[in-house]
């Protein structure tokens, strides 16, 4: 009498929940970019200069988006493994939690009266307070994606769905655009100086050249 051992076949066909899981990664990356767009509005629309702590928070928004962006990029070439899915979202959680520490530090820096806080406010809260809320929400969202991995891992949704395939090009291009524009904006703000004042009042590259 012989026993036949058969390993369960890996699930590779992406159902609705798996497609939604990949859409969620898109929403996460675009949400991070949207937050940075809000910061751009304050910088270029309202003429406020970002401080070093503000720049650090922008960095962690970008870094947090890199993990899910990798899941999206990976999904274009075939089935995403659970290991890759977990690594991407785990990275997002780590970066978001460190980012929230930066935001909380800036909140504490300005929390003692009569400190008026740094720069303008949106609906009564300064941008670094909104950043703290955004980072914590992002960490919860990324943690939820990990928790729901059996349902939310994309499997082959990236290649099976034409809409997701098209969206991946757009989402990744948007992230690249925000990474590049932040690089340029920071260079113009800081110029060739190693240090940056805590309360910048000009774009130093321009003032140095003129």
């Amino acid at each position: 009498m012989t026993a036949t051992l058969t390993a369960p076949a890996p699930a590779t066909s992406a159902g609705l929940s798996h497609r939604l899981g990949l859409w969620f990664a898109h929403a996460y990356v675009l949400g991070m970019c949207g937050t940075l767009a809000g910061a751009y509005f304050f910088q270029f629309g309202l003429g406020e200069y970002p401080c070093p702590m503000c720049l650090l928070q922008r960095m962690f928004f970008l870094l947090s988006a890199v993990g899910p962006a990798w899941i999206i990029a990976r999904s274009r070439n075939g089935a995403v493994t659970t290991r890759e899915f977990a690594a991407g979202w785990g990275w997002a959680v780590v970066a978001a939690l460190i980012g929230s520490t930066v935001s909380a530090t800036q909140v504490l820096m300005h929390i003692v009266p009569p400190d008026p806080g740094y720069a303008g406010a949106l609906f009564g809260l300064h941008l670094y307070t909104w950043a703290l809320i955004a980072f914590l929400a992002a960490a919860v969202a990324a943690g939820a994606a990990l928790f729901l991995a059996p349902e939310a891992e994309p499997l082959d949704a990236g290649v099976a769905s034409p809409a997701l395939r098209r969206a991946s090009a757009v989402t990744l291009a948007v992230l690249l655009a925000f990474a590049a524009s932040n690089l340029v904006a920071c260079f113009v703000l800081q110029g060739f100086h190693w240090q940056m004042p805590g309360d910048p009042t000009s774009y130093r590259l321009i003032t140095d050249l003129l």
């Binding site: 702590m53 960095m59 870094l63 930066v102 530090t105 990474a179 920071c186 260079f187 190693w194």
Partner: protein
């Protein structure tokens, strides 16, 4: 210094888009995260928070 950190982050995004080898990509990501944390630390250490804990 901050410009260099943004340059590293830009490279991290490029590594995602170009799908660079896993080992190199993870090294770049981790190094960038560590460098960004190091850039943040002086802001905490040098600041007096005026809070009695």
């Amino acid at each position: 210094m901050y410009t260099l950190l943004f340059l590293l982050i830009f490279l991290c995004v490029l590594a995602v888009l170009r799908e660079w080898p896993r080992r190199f990509r993870m090294l770049l990501w981790t190094g960038t995260l560590a460098a960004t944390v190091l850039a943040f630390l002086p802001h905490v250490l040098d600041h007096t928070f005026h809070i009695a804990l």
